[in-house]
Amino acid sequence: MPNLPKRKIGLISCSGEELPEGTVTRRAVRTVLETLRPDDTVTLCLPLFLAGGEGERAFARHYPTIAVDGCPKRCAALATEKYSAKPAASIVVSEIAKEKECAAIGTARRLNEAGLRLAETVAERIAADTEKLLNMKSRGR
């Protein structure tokens, strides 16, 4: 068993390069990691996860993860389930964009103001799910 950090939630973003929603996943996850919940989260690199990164896969087998996907294809959630375990929570940016009636969010390369606001909203949703999962873990111990 690898030496794993304690009480952390793994965040896996699809980072989809073709869609602006993929860029939103990436920005939102980094915001949670760097600003909102830096002590409670780690990011798992999806390309590495898919390429067989054993450290990433082992983490996702033993610790709760939140999959953050840009579109309904849900690559991050499916990959996590396929190679490790079902994510404890799953967020799809296109669904949140619909809820918020957020239409044009820029391009995959450059989000516009609406895209940046959407990334903040998604980050808050991830942070809230992180809180829930950490509370569940605490109660479970």
Binding site: G16, E17, E18, T31, C45, L46, P47, L50, A51
Partner: protein, 136 residues
């Protein structure tokens, strides 16, 4: 109509070099060679998305990787690319010793310079493939 050459960046989320790889792919496909190159999402490709695989199968493709693990190149090989030509951002940063790339969502100026250098290398590769295809 001639099909565009698939370009896959690693987009690693943990390091600036992954961000530079991603940015390089956009510079290539949007600014330098918009008629010849197209970004294909690595996650879709590796998870077996039919459309992404059709873009790559049996063709020459360009991988832009941020680290030595070369996830993009491996993903292209596994997806059936006939030939994978590599841009190694981790090597390029050694060749541009003055550059200190930082940031993931927002690359600093050095990160953007590294992305541009990577895109220039990728553009040279795209030109070679186009010439070999006889469609230049």
């Amino acid at each position: 109509m001639t099909r565009k050459i698939p370009v896959v960046p690693c987009s690693g989320i943990g390091k600036s070099l992954g961000a530079a790889a991603r940015e390089a792919a956009y510079i290539l496909a949007e600014d330098l060679r918009p008629a010849d190159a197209k970004v294909v999402a690595l996650a879709l490709l590796v998870l077996g998305d039919d459309e992404a695989r059709r873009e790559v199968a049996g063709r020459a493709a360009v991988a832009i990787d941020g680290c030595k693990l070369e996830c993009a190149a491996k993903g292209l090989t596994d997806a059936g690319a006939a030939e994978v030509r590599k841009v190694a951002v981790f090597d390029l940063v050694r060749r541009h010793r003055g550059l200190k790339p930082e940031g993931v969502c927002d690359l600093n100026a050095d990160g953007l310079k590294l992305a541009r250098a990577s895109a220039d290398e990728a553009a040279r590769i795209v030109d070679e493939i186009v010439a070999e295809d006889g469609r230049a």
